[in-house]
């Protein structure tokens, strides 16, 4: 299979912190992230799964330019983007909607910061709010919204920032199971409409497989990618895909990889 040139390239990116020198750690260095390499083609949906502390958020912060890696480079469209901000849309775990702004004015935040005039930004955002399930909420304040609606607003804010690459850090982690399923469908709709390149972090193996073209399983100490599993299930996917043997085989493999061997368990 031949891949097009990667949109986003994480090139041997590593992160080490200096710590105090102890007998366990004579070098005084803590390796948060062993060199990680990812190459993600345009329009792909790629997930990272792994236990807490495997460096998922570190990778995201590095790609978003909020953290300078101690090794390696981040390439976007073949250009070195290491340590530069505003290149990718980044949705953090919390929705971080500003309580003093209406939903509409929250959603246009990215455009506003990029210098788009308010009126033009609002005109661009309104039809999207209507199309993606937020009509009637445009002029409400975030505290009037349910958890699912808040996540929708936060995701639309990320999308309207208008970058090709989007990082989603456990966007549905705090939602109840029912809402989570709805939001997955909603995200799939959005992704196929906009054709963005998505990097998605989750703890939920099934969610990762259901949504992704490719799942990277990560391990801890140091944070690293232990396996890359392509998901070749046909799209559009339906809920019952999760019952097919291919799906179950991938799920089994992911769960095996995530299982901490008894000898290493703390």
């Amino acid at each position: 299979m031949s891949y097009p040139a990667p949109k986003l390239c994480v090139d041997d990116v590593g992160m080490t912190f200096k710590t105090s020198v102890t007998s366990n750690n004579p070098a005084g260095v803590f390796e948060a992230l062993a060199p990680v390499t990812l190459a993600i083609p345009q329009g792909r949906f790629v997930s990272l799964i792994g236990p807490s502390g495997c460096g998922k958020s570190t990778i995201f912060n590095i790609i978003a330019g909020l953290l300078e890696p101690t090794a390696g480079r981040v390439m976007i469209d073949g250009v070195d983007a290491t340590g530069t901000i505003g290149r990718v849309g980044y949705m953090l775990q919390k929705d971080l909607l500003l309580p003093w702004r209406t939903v509409l004015d929250n959603v246009i935040l990215g455009m506003e910061i990029q210098g788009v005039p308010l009126k033009a930004a609002r005109e661009r955002a309104l039809p999207l709010l209507h199309r993606y399930g937020l009509s009637g909420f445009e002029y409400l304040y975030p505290n009037a919204l349910s958890g699912g609606m808040r996540q929708r607003a936060a995701l639309l804010r990320t999308l309207l920032f208008d970058t090709d690459v989007i990082l989603l850090d456990e966007p549905f982690g705090a939602l109840d199971a029912q809402t989570k399923l709805q939001m997955q469908e909603w995200l799939m709709q959005l992704w196929s409409d906009f054709g963005k390149t998505v990097l998605f972090v989750t703890h939920d193996v099934e969610e990762a497989i259901y949504l992704s073209d490719e799942v990277h399983v990560m391990g801890t100490r140091p944070g690293r990618i232990v396996a890359t599993i392509p998901v070749l299930l046909a799209r559009p996917r339906v809920r019952t895909s999760a019952l097919t043997p291919e799906f179950l085989a991938i799920k089994q493999r992911c769960l095996d990889l995530l299982q901490v061997p008894a000898s290493q368990a703390a």
């Binding site: 330019g65 901000i85 953090l92 919390k94 971080l96 990215g110 506003e112």
Partner: protein
Amino acid sequence: MDTSTVGALSELGLARPQDPTQSDAAAPAVRPIRRLPVQKDWPTWALLIAQACILVGAIALWELAATTGWIDAFFWSQPSAILKTLTIFFTTGDAWTDISFTFRSTIFGFLLGTTAGSLLGLSFWWSRNYAAIVQPYIICLESIPKLALAPLIILVFGIGLVSKVAVATALTLVVSTLTAYAGVKALDPDGEKLFYSLGASRLQVFRKLVVPFCLPWIISVLRVNIGLALTGAIVGEFIASQHGLGRAILYAGQTYDIALVWVAVLVLSTLAVLMYAAVSWLESMLRKGVRQ
């Protein structure tokens, strides 16, 4: 259950009495039937009438006590005399000059202290090093009783309006600084992360995140500050002044014109209540504006 256990339990008062004679002696008292106590709220007019009655009653009692000689009218004065002095105060004295003097020093001090203090507190967001260097001084200033510095301030700024404004500013500035800084410290670092991930500049983060986020903190201190500013203005007038309600109180006290003391206190309290109400209104308007 064997007997020794029963004995041990009954000593603890837990065992069921088995012996009929014993059961008579230890018969449990009948529990009284109780209902949930319910307070009935009086209608507002009844509450208002009760409040008015207390006020009228207190004034009448005071007047009665003074005329019959239960209390010394020289020291305590009496309502009728106060009323007489009040009309004289407003018709012949410089009542309006005094009121406007105290009002102006309070408002200027309030505005200056609150604005400068809030800006100073917000400025700590810009640099952690700067904040770390300046913070101990702010805390020192906070712990100094600022009123103790009032004589010095009067000496430096003279006996006019400026010195009263300066005392009022000194009292309000530190409170505003510390409150605004508390807002800055409560800022969620993830909020800043979001802004930076969207490519924001420092100035954009400050204007669109830090300032609106800290506004509720700044607003919450307004009512405290109006009281502090008034205190500062009055103390300034106590020390040295040619006008103001504080000076009127001090002057009346020194000349044993107790009725005038009461009049000035009454006018001052009215002024304080009016300013407090105005700031409370301002606060509620601002809160509506910033949507907490």
